[in-house]
């Protein structure tokens, strides 16, 4: 029998490119007893013993049912109208009966799409390889549950996926498209910018692509290289008419995705892929939404505002813990007076249109701003925010707005960790700004 020649042809599939490096095992989570039952916008404090937070043990994640149900801005969407459209307060309404379940980001995303498909008969989910569950399992069993005429594969064409989705949306469907990696969104860029973003404007409101939501995994993953690590959100800043949303955790992902799907504007929903499995928290199982265009203050402070979104938020958290209690190798670089600085950490969440009000309010208080993102420096989100902040807060600022970002190069493969704004680089930016 002739040996198959196919054996010696290298695989070009994403799965071979993303063969997992072993991730360090998750240490047992120290218990953080939560004695507070009143409404609070802050996260539980880190354990007193001190540790270097990584995503698995981050205090930014809501690990208990009570914490999850108290997520600020959470609105239940399965209550009658009267109860529904208020900002959520703990202990009110049907809170006591609400269930939560431990989920990671891909399970939360899947949960959100399941709810959307269930409640909205016109909803469709489509993209490359989504029918079998998706390369990141975000669409697991959706085709089995809702049928192959509602959850289906498209050919290999991002332009086609976006164009098809825009057409569906224009005809009144809820179109939930998936682009397999945000690095591949560029063939769809023309459709999104020229058609989706402009449809409402060019027809004077007679037509729109509001029913379209385009989901894509973004940001670095450790071994993604040039084409599996990108953060293209900056490219969309010029496309007024489109919204761009980036969640940081499972609870955020589900609420923001449901809000994005139901928002009457086309939304590009970028999911940091490294968080798909590594970010785990308690997520309410009911239908709920989180507000778009509202940033969230994660840690209150008054010395400096640290603004970011997606994966770098966890590096920010690490940087702040390094600032508070530096290891011996860094201690000489951090003056003791700065170690008690209270830095206000903000998650931007919606990149376009971004929450100017929350950011300005914070910078007016702290007078210093550091913006962190993985995307390259030039023309990134940081440049837009810095320009707006310096215009509105010029006389209040005590230091130039600092941007800690990826370099102006493609995302390297072997040297990825020198490209990403990691905890040390963020700490350096914070120190430079505090000491200006």
């Amino acid at each position: 029998m002739r040996p198959s020649t196919a054996r010696y042809i290298p695989s070009h599939s994403p799965s071979s490119l993303l063969r997992a490096n072993s991730h360090s095992p998750r240490p047992p989570r120290p218990s953080t007893p939560n004695h507070r039952r009143h409404v609070t916008n802050t996260i539980e404090p880190a354990p007193a013993g001190g540790h270097l937070p990584s995503v698995a043990t981050s205090s930014l994640l809501r690990m208990t049912r009570e914490a999850a149900l108290r997520a600020p801005g959470l609105r239940w969407k399965d209550e009658p109208d009267a109860l529904r459209d208020r900002d959520h307060e703990a202990g009110e309404g049907t809170d006591g009966a609400r269930e939560t379940r431990k989920m990671n980001v891909y399970q939360a995303v899947r949960d959100a799409m399941g709810i959307a498909l269930l409640k909205d008969d016109s909803a469709l989910v489509f993209g490359e390889d989504v029918a079998f569950g998706g390369v990141f399992r975000c669409t697991m069993n959706l085709a089995e549950e809702f049928g192959r005429d509602r959850v289906f594969n498209t050919p290999l064409t991002e332009q086609g996926i976006a164009g098809f989705g825009i057409g569906l949306a224009a005809m009144g469907h809820t179109a939930i498209a998936e682009i397999q990696f945000s690095d591949y969104i560029y063939p769809a860029f023309d459709q999104l910018v020229s058609e989706a973003a402009k449809m409402r404007y060019r027809t004077g409101g007679q037509y729109d692509a509001g029913g379209l939501t385009v989901r894509a995994p973004c940001m670095s993953v450790g071994h993604g290289g040039l084409y599996h690590s990108q953060s293209p959100e900056g490219f969309f800043l010029g496309a007024a008419g489109i919204k761009v949303v980036i969640p940081r955790s499972p609870l955020q992902a589900k609420g923001l995705l449901l809000a994005a799907i139901r928002d009457p504007n086309p939304v590009v929903f970028l999911e940091p892929k490294i968080l798909y499995r590594s970010a785990i928290e308690q997520v309410p199982t009911s239908d709920y939404e989180l507000p778009l265009s509202r940033a969230e203050v994660l840690l209150p402070g008054d010395s400096l505002t640290l603004l970011s979104y997606g994966t770098p938020l966890y590096h920010c958290e690490t940087a702040l813990s390094l600032l508070r209690s530096p290891p011996p190798s860094l201690a000489h670089l951090i003056p003791a007076s700065l170690r008690s600085a209270q830095v206000e950490l903000i998650d931007l969440r919606t990149i376009l249109p971004w929450d100017i009000h929350t950011v300005i309010k914070s910078v007016e208080k702290t007078r210093r701003l550091v913006i962190v993102h993985e995307a390259g420096r030039s023309g990134g989100v940081g440049s837009e925010i810095a320009a707006e902040v310096q215009k509105r807060c010029f006389l209040r600022l005590e230091a130039p707005v600092k941007r800690v970002t990826g370099w102006d190069t493609p995302v390297p493969l072997v040297f990825e960790k020198f490209y990403i704004p990691d905890a040390v680089r963020i700490l350096d930016g914070v120190l430079e700004t505090l000491m200006y």
């Binding site: 196919a6 490096n21 029918a131 993953v221 490294i274 370099w407 072997v414 020198f418 350096d428």
Partner: protein, 96 residues
């Protein structure tokens, strides 16, 4: 960590690979003309596999490049803007 998993191959694809694969069909034709044989095929495969493994091992033994490579070849004739910044950060924090 990330577990990008790929779709299962369908029966249709498997059957096509066995019967209609143009590589196999060309191979059969060459054999039928006496220009190629299963023995030669086997020898070639073995040799090529060895060549690949040797190249692989040679590559693995090579040292990592200098960090400066990260900022080369972005443009032709222009340098990436942030070399100095990276250099000063490394000097300050001394990471390997």
């Amino acid at each position: 960590m990330i577990d990008a998993h790929s779709p299962p191959r369908s029966r249709r694809v498997e059957d096509w690979k066995k019967v209609d694969n143009p590589l196999l069909r060309l191979g059969n034709y060459l054999e039928s003309q006496g220009w190629w044989s299963a023995v030669e095929e086997q020898a070639l495969c073995t040799q090529q596999r060895k060549d690949v493994m040797d190249a692989f091992q040679r590559a693995e033994r090579r040292k990592k490049s200098q960090l400066g490579e990260m900022m080369k070849d972005v443009w032709c004739g222009e340098t990436a803007k942030q070399r100095e910044e990276l250099r000063s950060l490394l000097g300050k924090y001394g990471r390997a």
